[in-house]
Symmetry: none
């Protein structure tokens, strides 16, 4: 379960217990309740059920509370994605070895296939096709920063002679992650050998 989701032992459709009010400070419990509710609704009922009204109902929160803090439901998902992916799938910063890169890509494949936050990423990528605002937010707040970290990490590995990227790093990262994302989007199961082959052919020093 993703980091912002309620533990699996709790009851999705129960009346949310009344939280203590916070006065004139932002209520962290309300913020978390919204993120959890959005996460859970997406996982359980799909994107079509992810309406502001449903999130508010499930979180035990007023619609106005959501509109006060988030400009759209997409930004709610983006918040959950950022918080969850930082915990579940951090970009390594310290071990620029070939094996570490391979491991990171395996983790990424598993993230897309199994982690609810992976579904959130696919959902946001999809929504970005429909809405330029989503595309901009997704790049600015998630894809851009993450890609920058990945690029720096790969560059360090290349400098260390661990890797010999076949192309510029952005193109290589597209070539490595693109197949995983595309497979996840078309419902294909995870294929570990795909990751291994990609790393071998696109990153490994030849011969």
């Amino acid at each position: 379960m993703s980091a912002t989701s309620t533990p699996p032992t709790t009851e999705p459709p129960e009346p949310p217990a009344p939280r203590a009010r916070s006065g004139n400070r932002r209520d962290e419990a309300a913020r978390l309740a919204v993120l959890h509710a959005a996460d859970d609704l997406l996982a359980e009922q799909g994107f079509a059920a992810l309406t502001v009204e449903a999130i508010a109902r499930r979180a035990g929160v007023a619609k106005q509370t959501i509109y006060r803090w988030w400009p759209s439901k997409v930004e709610i998902l983006l918040d959950t994605l950022i918080e969850d992916s930082a915990k579940t799938l951090p970009v390594p910063a310290d071990r620029p070895t070939a094996a570490a890169v391979r491991g990171y890509l395996h983790d990424f494949a598993r993230f897309l296939d199994r982690d609810p936050a992976g579904k959130v990423l696919l959902t946001l990528l999809a929504q970005a096709q429909h809405d330029p605002g989503t595309a901009a937010s997704l790049h600015r707040r998630h894809l851009g920063p993450r890609r920058a970290q990945e690029r720096a990490w790969l560059a360090a590995a290349a400098d260390a002679g661990e890797l010999a990227p076949a192309l510029d790093l952005d193109a290589v990262l597209d070539a490595l992650t693109g197949p995983l994302v595309y497979a996840a989007m078309t419902g294909a199961p995870a294929r570990p050998e795909l990751v291994d082959t990609l790393v071998d052919r696109l990153l490994a020093p030849r011969g």
Copy 2:
């Protein structure tokens, strides 16, 4: 302009000229008007503007006419995608050479970047993330048949010794098309050298 779209000399926002009525046979003119209208609306205004009412209005057709023949607007897009991609980007069946494969992938990259039908494909892939029904239709009517043709074509090329695929053909096709789709989805410009590198590293017989 995609094959089902009105030629550029015609007027998108004009009052649609009254078509001759067809009596008790399905009206082919109405069918085409719907496909054109959907195509044009998606290209001009984006997915959010692609409502059944807008399509009906633009096509000069009753909503009921659309609901009678298509279960959803997704199926309309699928119809245009199938008809257009068959014309614009046919899977070659005759020349199983390495160069032909490379050319096909370059064509595919250009299709995603420039052809309105490429945008339709991205839109349907996106919608498939939101709606399992779309995912099923997209596979059954487009991705599945096309992938079968591509697989057969690559198999012929491999048999002919033109290629030495690094993995099973489905995985290789994901590895080849995935980066192109992912790049198009994240707004990256077309990179011909990406295609070349992918073909070299994943398909070329190792020298």
Copy 3:
């Protein structure tokens, strides 16, 4: 019960039976359901409960159907008032005698005190104090036409020598009905001798 209300044997809080759809003509059943629901809600729960959402819920009608045909809930009440008062309290047109005038005023007092439509009139008069639009509609559609009929009727009685109005007819009508309305508004019980005295002192030819 007022004319547009459901008979007392029917069930207020039951799920409204699905009505037959009307196609592209206005649905008279929906119109009546709205009028009944508004009438009943006002009588049972008061003006505060008379929300468009509650009317729609009770009538088994979509909110849009209400907004399509009525610019505001006030116009719904005005419709019920006009239909009901035409049946319950018609302005006599035929017997311009002093006794008939006295009887009409007694009927008016009873209408205000007991008829649900009397409550509707008081409600609309009240709402007219809050909203100029209500005031205008109330005058144009109810008070104006009704006052014109009453004036003509009194004029005929005066011509016949039955009455000797103490003032111009509009002022006399204010003097006759004003006390009844004011008493009803302040919750006073009906006082028959008030009507009799008013008629004696303001209309009767001085003996």
Copy 4:
């Protein structure tokens, strides 16, 4: 301008200057600011704009300050009505002559037509139709005490032989004030001859 309103030279929409804080005693300045704001809002924008939030905003006061001291906005209006009507339209207590009664009624008609506090009375009478709580407060705090004074005053005049009421005093008072209130409620202009005729026919000793 009514007694609780800001002088006309002040600017309604400017940022209210911060008042000195009062410590743990009730802040009279805040109390007056609320009464003024309510009065002004009602006069300028009508009842619909008279929300607690708007009063608080305009008075430069926290909502909680309003809810601490008034159970509802109706009670705010009632406070202004009581204070203003005691100044603008006191019930005479000393000169129980026929002419004084006639003068009081003329004053009352002018109060309804021109004084902002007259609008407040009409507003509260209207609101009493919608809300039993308002009706009770209006009677208990304004209509009841005032009617008692008027009754006593008329009784003194009758005892003195100045008047010969046609009915019990409450009914006579309804008959005298009802037409004036009803005319004001339906937007009729003041008619001095109406007052004179009512006094003549309902109060004057029959010559």
